[in-house]
């Protein structure tokens, strides 16, 4: 008799309980709903952080469990945001155009409305035609499907090309980074059809929901993000918990050996790569309506590297580690760069955290890599007092798995 899912993953239950408690607490304290202690912008920041935790789970799956250091997952995150942003912007602009034409002597034709939308959206890049990629922008369901399909297909094609030619390790990292750079550069062009470096804006206004105040909307998005994070966590726990999880950990630790055992390594990797891309895209689709604006700078290669930083600091190879890392680093980062951290006067020089935060982050990242490969998540091992016994054949863990074959066996 197999044990139940939650018996095998006690952390999942704890995590979901914590998440539910957190969401409830915020809801009760929030501006629009309850005690009016937490401002709407803070609620939005927390909602965005939950989305970042979700993409961190995706990163942990692909890197911490499968050993693929992808520096391209923020590209999928951004693409997801763009796909939903297109619908938000198109419908919102349509409302504005229709209301502005309502008082005209003749009722507008469909073409006139379309021209009006085109001028409104693309005037800023010197165009008025609606490009072909906006074909489905008037349909929420089509764009929701595209949120999943576009990044999923991109990941599928890219992964298929990369894995079938056995590009691994740092080469794969560089290749994913190049893909991200290519996508960012492409979107930076004005004629890419997505408004170049202006990006899509005004995404915080849901079409047809003018009557609902932002304070209420932010709580809704917080709930949606929390639900997505919980589902993502369960999915990830389910994927890594079973036999499938054993195989992908095997691939991480010794790809050649798994291949010789008869597993289709490329298929497993491709599956993980694509699934995590889709999770990242969903996280992006929830993130950008809260952020309100998306532009190509968001998906520059550096963003994906920061993602790796979060996961490494949180502790890879454990799902809650990724969540803790993303939440901790992004909130601390907001605190430091927002100018809220107190300056430190040294007499001859005053340390302003706005300037010095990145240096602190970079150096602490080096320190974590060198001295605490398990990250913050490693602390839980100390609390539970269950440091993994040194047995042959046990999971080497993510830090050891990166060892090359010979050293790992020593």
């Amino acid at each position: 008799m197999e044990r139940s899912f939650f018996a095998r993953n006690p952390s999942a239950l704890i995590f979901i309980a914590c998440l539910a408690g957190f969401t409830l607490l915020i809801t009760v304290l929030a501006e629009g709903f309850g005690a009016d202690v937490i401002s709407t912008s803070m609620v939005k920041t927390l909602g965005k952080t939950l989305c970042l935790c979700l993409i961190a789970i995706a990163m942990d799956l692909v890197w911490g469990y499968c050993g693929i250091l992808s520096l391209g997952h923020f590209a999928f995150f951004g693409l997801g945001g763009y796909m939903l942003g297109m619908w938000l912007m198109f419908e919102r602009t349509k409302e504005i155009v229709v209301s502005s034409m309502a008082n005209a002597p003749l009722p507008p034709t469909a073409q006139e409305i379309r021209d009006g939308i085109g001028t409104q959206i693309f005037g800023v890049v010197g165009g008025s035609e609606i490009p072909g990629i906006w074909l489905f922008a008037d349909s929420l369901f089509a764009q929701l499907a595209l949120v999943v399909l576009v990044p999923g297909l991109l990941a599928l094609v890219f992964g298929w090309l990369a894995f079938r030619s056995r590009v691994t390790g740092v080469y794969l990292s560089i290749l994913t980074q190049a893909m991200t750079l290519a996508l960012a550069l492409y979107l930076f062009q004005n004629d890419s059809g997505l408004r170049g470096n202006n990006g899509l804006s005004g995404l915080q206004n849901l079409p047809g929901a003018d009557a609902i105040p932002q304070s209420t909307m932010s709580i809704w998005f917080l709930w949606a993000s929390a639900a997505a994070l919980a589902l993502g966590y369960l999915l990830a726990a389910w994927i890594v918990g079973g036999k499938f999880g054993s195989v992908i950990r095997g691939i991480r630790d010794d790809e050649a050996r798994v291949r010789f055992l008869g597993y289709n390594v490329e298929g497993y990797k491709l599956f993980i790569f694509t699934v995590t891309a889709v999770i990242a895209a969903i996280a992006g689709a929830l993130y950008y309506p809260q952020a309100g604006i998306i532009n190509p700078a968001e998906i520059a290669p550096i963003a994906s590297i920061y993602l790796a930083v979060w996961v490494a600091i949180g502790g890879r190879g454990r799902i809650y580690g990724a969540v803790i890392g993303a939440a901790f680093v992004s909130l601390v980062s907001t605190w430091f760069t927002g100018g809220q951290a107190p300056d430190i006067p040294l007499g001859f020089y005053t340390i302003k955290w706005v300037d010095w935060w990145l240096i602190l982050l970079g150096l602490s990242f080096v320190a974590v890599t060198l001295f605490a490969p398990k990250g913050i998540g490693g602390l839980f091992d100390l609390i539970e007092g269950r440091i993994a016994p040194n047995r042959h054949g046990a999971d080497l863990g993510p830090d050891m798995s990166a060892l090359r074959e010979k050293e790992a066996s020593e």
Binding site: P105, S165, V167, S173, L175, D355, I359, G362, L363, E407
Partner: protein, 653 residues
């Protein structure tokens, strides 16, 4: 125009005769001026030619000076005796008069007693033309050259005769060649004789000069026109078939413009007409709220037209008939067929040669870009390629080198000396930084490449922010020495700046030095041994720690020198290195890891490829980079180990 020509001819003869002209009177210029007093007092575009001709006929040596000052509004007239003088402003509303012939001073006179001659711009233009002729025959070659430059800037028909008149007597060969070339160029544009123009046009076949193309291109400008039948007296470039060579809407617009067809009703006009006819919430019986489709609006408009309230709409059948009945063609603005034919043929020959030269220019550009990528990637080829350590902070070492160069330029003001000092100092600084990084971080992470990547990335963001804190966010200049300014110009199409040549030479030196170190020195031997098998190397008495440290230092030091070179032609910012890091890794990966030659091939391929894509789509360098990266991703599918792949045990895995 003809009169101006005449003057020019007279001027040319006048100048030759000047030497023999005898001064009969004490004030010859003043007397000429007085003879044509009315013309000087109130010159107009029409009368000024006669006045200038009279002045020139007198063959006076001080006429050019007078013309110049007249044009500059420095000639005044004394009211009491109507005599003309030059004047000097004394500042207190009085003027000292200077005699136009003798230069004798007179005065001061109150401003009210004088009248300034103010020729209008048209008159000044005529004077300038007359002056050019003087310049072309001036004894001083510098003045003649200035005259030629003036003609090149603003050629006019009147210059042609002057040029022809002055070419014969020109004794400086360079100026003579220039005059002859200019004469041919002006012949193309201004000569009346068709045969002479054709000869001049054909003489430019294969000429790469921008001026030749500038003279030829206007001859081939066309105007798109429509008429009922093909006209006989017009120089037609091409007959256009509507719907094939010419969009139907455009063709019909031409007909409307030529008055051969009534204008089509546009959507906006239709809407305006409909709005104008609204009565009680309906138009011609149709309720307004139904008019939200084009078909409904068309139908309603037709009803209005039938009632005679608006103009009849033009239907498709009518347009078809109108397009079929008329001829559409491109007509040359130049009426002479022989000239346009010759110009087209000559331009084609020129374009052919220009194309070939552009290819050469592109190849030079590609080579220069390749050498920049090579320079940026060569340090990486050692640390990543030979040692297998992935150093994301490599770009920051390049930046560090560039800032070192900047700081040294602040200390040593002489650019040549400061660059010579900067190169070894930059090497030393980044060598030290590299060794420190290897000792403190990287050596704990050997064999864990992904973690090395992340740790060095942490160092990279810290270094970048540190540079921002120290030097600020704005770009710092790294000025190149004067002897590197300018460009090596081979012809009007092919040129390359000296800085790029210097970078190319520098990268060649790097290539040779590195190949020498790795293949011919003890250090190189030890590096290769440690790379292939550290334990075996250690048992042979090599200290792998020391070798790793030195190799990493060498790679970082080279990045520093590359930083100085790159800083010379790009602005130094804290993001300088980050801009090159992805391309550098691409270069190494495409070329093949573990091989200096591979990096060379990788850089060459990426450099030429990027320039090639930019050439196909010159307006968009962003797109060029995008396509190049996609190409590289596909390239790695076919050669995952790069152009030069290590084989056997050296390959590592």
């Amino acid at each position: 125009m003809f009169r101006t020509l005449l003057i020019a001819l007279r001027l040319a003869t006048l100048w030759l005769a000047l030497g023999f002209a005898a001064l009969a009177q004490d004030a010859p210029l003043q007397s000429v001026l007085q003879d044509n007093r009315a013309g000087f007092e109130k010159p107009s575009r029409k009368t000024v030619d006669g006045v200038i001709a009279a002045l020139l006929d007198a063959q006076l040596p001080n006429a050019p000076a007078f013309l110049t000052r007249w044009r500059e509004k420095e000639v005044w007239q004394r009211k009491e005796d109507k005599l003309f003088f030059y004047a000097r402003d004394n500042g207190d509303k009085t003027y000292t008069l200077i005699d136009v012939d003798t230069g004798a001073e007179d005065g001061p006179y109150d401003k009210k007693a004088l009248k300034q001659l103010k020729p209008n711009s048209g008159v000044r233009g005529v004077i300038a033309t007359a002056l050019v002729v003087f310049q072309l025959t001036d004894p001083d070659p510098a003045v003649r050259e200035a005259g030629l430059t003036a003609i090149e800037r603003g050629p006019e028909a009147s210059h042609l005769a002057a040029l022809r008149g002055s070419t014969e007597g020109e004794d400086v060969p360079a100026l003579k060649a220039r005059k002859q070339r200019l004469e041919r160029l002006l012949t193309i544009t201004y000569d009346k004789d068709s045969a002479a123009r054709v000869a001049a046009i054909e003489s430019f076949a294969g000429d790469l000069g921008v001026d030749a193309r500038a003279a030829l291109n206007p001859l081939l400008t066309t105007t798109r026109r429509a008429s009922a039948e093909r006209p006989a007296d017009i120089n037609v470039a091409a007959v256009l078939a509507p719907g094939i060579d010419l969009p139907r809407a455009e063709a019909y617009a031409l007909l409307v413009e030529a008055g051969l067809a009534p204008p089509q009703i546009t959507a906006a006009e239709r809407k305006a007409a409909l709005i104008a006819n609204i009565e009680n919430g309906a138009i011609a019986g149709t309720p307004i709220h139904t008019l939200n489709t084009d078909a409904a609006r068309d139908a309603t408009y037709a009803k209005l037209a039938a009632a005679g309230l608006v103009a009849e709409p033009v239907d498709t059948a009518f347009i078809d008939a109108a397009l079929a009945d008329n001829v559409f063609f491109d007509a040359y603005d130049e009426p002479d067929t022989a000239v346009t034919t010759a110009a087209a043929a000559t331009l084609e020959a020129i374009e052919m040669r220009v194309g070939l030269n552009q290819m050469a220019d592109l190849a030079l550009d590609g080579l220069s870009l390749a050498s920049i990528y090579f320079l940026a990637a060569i340090g990486l080829a050692i640390t990543f390629g030979v040692m297998g350590v992935i150093n994301m902070a490599h770009g920051e070492f390049i930046m560090m080198g560039a800032y070192t160069g900047y700081v040294i330029q602040q200390v040593i003001p002489d650019y040549t000396v400061s660059i010579i000092v900067a190169i070894p100092v930059a090497f030393a600084v980044t060598f030290a930084a590299g060794v420190a990084m290897e000792r403190l971080v990287i050596r704990w992470l050997y064999n864990r490449p992904l973690e090395t990547l992340l740790a060095t990335f942490g160092i990279s963001i810290a270094l970048q922010q540190l540079a921002k804190n120290i030097f600020g966010t704005q770009a710092r200049p790294l000025t190149s020495p004067g002897w590197l300014d300018g460009a090596l110009v081979i012809n009007d199409v092919v040129s390359i700046s000296y800085i790029r040549i210097a970078i190319f030479v520098l990268s060649l030196i790097f290539l040779v030095v590195l190949l020498f170190i790795l293949n011919r020195t003890r250090l190189g031997l030890e590096v290769r041994a440690v790379t292939q098998n550290p334990r075996m190397a250690a048992s042979m008495g090599i200290n792998p720690d020391r070798i790793n440290m030195l190799t990493f230092g060498l790679g970082s030091g080279i990045a520093g020198i590359a930083g100085v070179a790159i800083g010379l032609y790009a602005k130094v910012t804290s993001e300088l290195g980050a801009d090159y890091i992805v391309q550098s890794f691409m270069t190494v990966v495409v070329g093949g890891v573990g091989n200096i030659w591979g990096t060379l091939f990788g850089a060459t391929m990426i450099g030429f490829l990027q320039k090639g894509i930019e050439w196909l789509n010159p307006s968009n360098t962003l797109a060029a980079q995008t396509y190049m990266i996609i190409f590289i991703i596909i390239f790695i599918q076919f050669r995952p180990k790069g152009i030069i792949a290590l084989k056997g045990r050296a390959a590592g895995d």
